[in-house]
């Protein structure tokens, strides 16, 4: 009996926490389907008295939603490809090759995680300006093709757990290093690659600072930028529209979270534990 009560108490606690963590999202969805009168009502309406989808239609008229979504997707997908390619190569070298400066380089790379983005953002902006990439999506995509501390660390840690027997056998058969990486190591590393892909996609999809610095014209804007501009413009009290836009921004990520929950968790747990 005591055990039963404790279980129920635990569920009540978990649900209460859940209400705090998920409540704002439900409120977001609910507001996005209200009309103007329902929003400015005291006391607040929990559920729209009548479900309206017109806010979603309205936001398409205020924002070039198709363009924004396309730009956000393009940046996130291309950056993900860039990170997967560059980090998996570098991690392979760090995990499996002997060369001068292996340890030092790896340490330097990890140390870059300590550098705040604010220190590098002005010089990187100048590089992009020099390359003529300001106000193009490339400004955000290109750096992703040049490695990164988090991705390289994540993959290197994973490669280190793969037994080398298969690779040794392949080498005996005369396989080159790249062949081994491509047909043995990478297929075995799918979970780690999935983790990195999820994190990279999420980071770039959600990013606001990057787009705000590099992109200016409407054709190149991202969804996060569109939402930020909408809010700082005349729409500051149009919570119905703002919430509809926010729902659209969260939706793809929510799907990813549902599909890839365990990879998210694994990725974070790996960075949190010293191996």
């Amino acid at each position: 009996m005591a055990r039963r009560i404790r279980t129920i108490a635990r569920y009540i606690l978990l649900t209460a926490i859940g209400a705090v963590m998920v409540g704002p999202f439900l409120w977001m969805v609910s507001t996005s389907m209200m009309d103007q009168q329902d929003i400015f009502r005291v006391p607040p309406q929990w559920i729209p008295r009548q479900i309206h989808l017109k806010n979603y239609r309205a936001i398409m008229e205020v924002l070039p939603l198709g363009t924004l979504l396309l730009n956000s997707f393009t940046i996130a997908i291309c950056a993900t490809i860039g990170q997967l390619c560059s980090c998996s190569l570098a991690a392979y070298a760090f995990a499996r090759m002997k060369f001068r400066g292996n340890t030092v380089l790896y340490f330097v790379l990890l140390a870059t995680m300590m550098i705040p983005a604010q220190v590098t953002m002005i010089p990187v902006f100048l590089i992009m300006k020099f390359l003529g990439l300001i106000d193009t999506l490339y400004a955000l995509i290109v750096p992703a093709f040049f490695g990164g501390a988090f991705g390289t660390f994540l993959l290197r840690q994973f490669y280190a757990t793969i037994p080398t027997d298969l690779e040794d056998a392949a080498r005996m058969d005369g396989c080159g290093k790249f062949r081994i990486l491509w047909s043995i190591v990478l297929p075995l590393s799918k979970p780690a690659l999935a983790t990195l892909a999820l994190f990279t996609f999420m980071t770039y999809w959600n990013d606001l600072l990057g787009p705000v610095i590099y992109l200016s014209s409407v054709e190149n804007a991202t969804l996060t930028m569109g939402l930020a501009n909408l809010q700082s413009g005349v729409m500051v009290t149009r919570y119905d529209l703002l919430m509809a836009g926010s729902v659209l921004s969260v939706l793809p990520i929510l799907l990813l979270l549902i599909i890839g929950q365990r990879w998210f968790v694994k990725g974070i747990a790996t960075t949190g534990l010293k191996e």
Binding site: L14, M21, P44, F99, N206, G245
Partner: protein
Amino acid sequence: MRPTRTFRVLEPYLYLLPTLIGLALFSAGAVAVSFLMSFTHWDIITTPEWIWLENYITLWQSDLFWEVVWNTVYFILLAVPLSVVASLALALAANTTLKGIVFFRTAYFLPVVSSMIAVALVWSWIYNPEYGLLNYLLDLFFGIRGPAWLDSTSWALPAMVIVTVWKGLGYSMVIFLAGLQNIPQDLYHAATIDGAGVWKKFRHITLPMLSPTTFFVIVITLINSFQVFEQTYVLTKGGPANSTLTMSYYIYQNAFQFFQMGKAAALSYVLFAAIFVVTLIQFRIQKRWVFYG
């Protein structure tokens, strides 16, 4: 064809080429350029003018700079302890094998993966003084008339702290959960046999065994708190009356709104130094309280 000797020596560097270019251009190079830039006066159009330490001296003498420093420190002092304690509590609550626990954990994780802009927008609606949810609930449960949150010079910064902590809880929770699950269960069994209660077990087993994880969470949360930007951009733009103007947003303003690149670079070095020193101090004092079993 057998690979030549030269190829074998150079091969690792081929794999590392993208990373090395990235390190040289976007990290090390950028850090160096930023450093040099901090000794110049530059509006990005005319030629930069070398002015030695003037940027740093002007900052030191400016009241706004010290206000920004104080805001940043105040933000950290509120956000870090709150975040660490709350995420540990969350991890303890979620550290169970009850049915459906994965569902709960995933739900707690939702704020982490959502964009700060979406999160900040919904919170700005929740904080709305007249029609917002928060003041309604405060009135309903406690009979308190809530403040104007984001429009109040004394409440805007705590309001941003709440959003930031709430958004990051799930992340630290996952790290704490991994730490909790690494604690050997026989320690608890032995303590139970010795007649230790829940609190004693928490105080003498969980906390010491978890201290490396706690240390990591504190370091990460601190580094992130120094760099709070997007919340400010969406919620307050540094207002009202500069009460939420923190270092990171001030750097952005100087660089990309006022085009004072030299001053912004100097500020970014102040931030960098602060993060570096605080992290170093933490690694120093960790020996006194972190227990590596």
